[in-house]
């Protein structure tokens, strides 16, 4: 860990405190001293307005986002491979995808409720919407960007379509697909507030933020935001580490 990486965050915290001191209106900029006790006691029930501990809330969110993300990946990757290999399929699906892609997941909330009813399915659906498109588009791009010469060489050497797919296309596209997964997870994680806006749940970081908002509890909202940020950062680090370890050949190949 290089120390200068934590330098700026620390400076920002200090600047926040300093500004809070001079503005002297906690409604504009609350002092972080009201936030620190919440973060320092992630197992405590005292600070979270009866939603369970901060840790339980985080765990509930990670579970939901994980499920939605896995579902999105398991549909988007195969579909992306098919689209990457077939021009006809791309022509068919491209416009509906481009039409649905810009719709923010939050807008799906009322329909999700009507279709999937109260419960985990609706929540997972909202996360799915967020994660699906980046994974799909990156997969399509990855498959298309596999060098023609590689495929041609394999064909000349008598490889079957199946062999081309598993031995050439998939490994060749893997780095881009992985980028898609990384971006997709980031967006899925961002959707946690929208997803947990759905009624009928009583835990989760997004729920916690919205619940705190109902009561105007700025310090709890900030604590929730910090935890969402930290978890997002941690998971992104894992994605990056895998990328560096397994897909660094891409840089050599260029």
């Amino acid at each position: 860990m290089r120390y200068h990486r934590v330098l700026l965050p620390l400076l920002l915290v200090a600047a926040w405190e300093l500004a809070a001191y001079f503005i002297a209106n906690p409604f504009i900029l609350p002092s972080l001293t009201t936030v620190v006790p919440i973060l320092a006691n992630p197992m405590s029930m005292t600070y979270t307005l009866g939603t369970g501990s901060l840790l339980e809330n985080a765990f509930a969110s990670i579970q939901r986002v994980g499920l939605g993300f896995l579902l999105a990946a398991s549909i988007a990757i195969p579909l992306g491979i098919l689209m990457g290999r077939s021009v006809a399929l791309t022509d068919l699906l491209d416009s509906p995808i481009e039409l649905l892609r810009p719709i923010p997941p939050l807008a799906w909330v009322p329909l999700a409720l009507a279709w999937f009813k109260i419960g985990l399915t609706s929540i997972v659906f909202i996360i799915f919407i967020g994660a699906f498109f980046p994974i799909l588009l990156n997969t399509v791009d990855g498959v298309r960007a596999v060098k023609k010469t590689w495929v041609e060489v394999a064909t000349t050497l008598g490889a079957s379509e199946r062999q081309i797919l598993t031995k050439v296309v998939l490994p060749g596209a893997a780095p881009t697909v992985w980028t898609g997964l990384r971006v997709g997870f980031g967006i899925a994680w961002m959707c946690v507030v929208a997803a947990e806006w759905l009624p009928g749940i009583s835990q989760g970081l997004g729920y916690l933020i919205l619940y705190a908002y109902n009561f105007g509890q700025t310090n709890l909202i900030i604590a929730g935001m910090v935890v969402i940020g930290l978890i997002g950062l941690a998971i992104d680090l894992v994605f990056k580490r895998v990328e560096r370890r397994w897909f660094s050949w891409r840089e050599l190949e260029r």
Partner: protein, 403 residues
């Protein structure tokens, strides 16, 4: 050259459209002195807006009326029952217990039992306000602290202050039913009623909105202290509510389930006995679980009515305006009984010279003449609080502008 002209033309056109939007849209000139009413989609942002001087006051439901004095950012001007004209809003209707029509007709015994549970809890509330306030603080905030700015106050304290200003009553008297019609008129005026209640007579409105047969049956059982055991329901049943102390009856019914079970043989027992806010419970009559209840908290009444229209929930505690709006649009919802009366209030900023309604009106006129009309926040257009605020302002010779 032509290649440049087209984008240029489109760009100019866009600018024109954008500018005309700014220039031509003038608010209709209101006559006389005005007050600006601004809608905040709920009560969450209100203390922040008041604490940052973006509004001069707000009207909200409890416990948000008690927050400004505790957080040292404002003071209570008037509780809703005392809003002018004098006596007009005494015992004004507020939240109601609603049921889907097919739940009333299809499983009358369960509807009656649930209604009876809430009646018993309401009776308990009125007799034991201090204990009930604490139970509600546990439900809403796990008995934790509310933090506003750098001031932290115990939720138990906030609710203990709020509780005496809410009247917990159930009986759907004819007078009470008629007083609900005030909100039908108000919504007509706002133009939001487009269905069955748009042109209905009062008598028609009453029969569209109300069905108090479950109340009558439940009240009879409560009076006799003997309850019919319903046939067990097949699937889970959804009960919607809002995170407000107005819905204390439901929270107390669940938190004190043991007491109600031992005393009356009818109770709503939470599955998770340790949770602050359980989300699953069993309706138990004479020792027998008869229905699994899914307790669904919505963030506003309209959302609960949407859930009811899609069959996600069968019963809901909501404010009467969303129930009226939903019934108008054809949702098969019936108002069974009252949940509470009054329980809202107007607060003003700490620096305000107003100490009562009369001095508030004087302040509002002074500010309007000075070209800086007061800005008062209300939770939503057409909400109980909005309707009362507008009515009272207009009755005091002030006109209302949205902003």
């Amino acid at each position: 050259m032509k290649r440049i002209l087209l984008p240029l033309f489109v760009g100019l056109l866009l600018c024109g459209v954008l500018l005309s939007g700014c220039v031509t849209e003038k608010p209709p000139a209101a006559s006389g002195e005005t007050v600006i009413v601004t809608y905040t989609k709920g009560t969450g942002p209100m203390p922040t807006l008041l604490g940052t001087d973006q509004i001069d006051g707000y009207i909200a439901w409890q416990p948000f009326v008690e927050v400004p004095p505790l957080a040292n950012i404002g003071k209570v001007l008037v509780y809703s029952g005392d809003l002018p004209p004098a006596g007009r809003w005494k015992n004004h209707p507020c939240c109601v217990f609603t049921a889907r029509a097919d739940a009333i007709s299809g499983s009358p015994d369960i509807t009656n039992a649930l209604t009876a549970s809430l009646i018993l809890a309401t009776q308990y509330l009125e007799k034991n306000p201090d204990e009930s306030a604490e139970l509600v603080a546990d439900w809403l905030a796990g008995k934790g602290n509310f933090t506003y700015g750098n001031i932290s106050v115990s939720s138990v304290e906030v609710l203990a202050r709020a509780f005496p200003t809410v009247k917990f009553v159930n009986e759907p008297t004819d007078e009470w039913k008629r007083s609900n019609l005030e909100f039908v008129y108000a919504q007509r005026e706002l133009g939001v009623l487009t269905g069955s209640l748009q042109n209905s007579t009062d008598q028609e409105s009453l029969s569209i909105l109300f069905d108090s047969t479950p109340y009558d049956a439940a009240k009879a059982m409560v009076d006799k202290r003997s309850f019919v055991t319903p046939r067990p329901a097949k699937g889970p049943i959804g009960v919607g509510y809002l995170m407000s102390d107005h819905h204390a009856a439901l929270f107390v019914a669940i938190k004190k389930w043991q007491y109600f079970n031992d005393t009356y043989g009818i109770a709503i027992r939470p599955r998770d006995l340790a949770a602050s806010r359980p989300d699953t419970a069993d309706l138990i009559v004479n020792g027998q679980p008869v229905a699994e209840l899914k307790l669904v908290s919505g963030d506003a009444g309209p959302q609960l009515m949407q859930l009811m229209s899609t069959g996600n929930i069968q019963y809901a505690l909501v404010g009467n305006p969303p129930a009226i709006a939903a019934a108008d649009k054809g949702t098969p919802v019936k108002i069974v009984m009252a949940v509470n009366e009054e329980g809202s209030g107007v607060v003003v900023s700490k620096s305000s010279p107003a100490t009562d309604w009369a001095s508030f009106v004087a302040w509002a006129k002074e500010r309007s003449v000075a070209g800086k009309p007061l800005k008062i926040a209300a939770p939503g257009k057409g909400s109980i609080q909005d309707v009362m605020l507008r009515y009272s302002l207009e009755a005091s010779g002030l006109s209302v502008r949205e902003g």
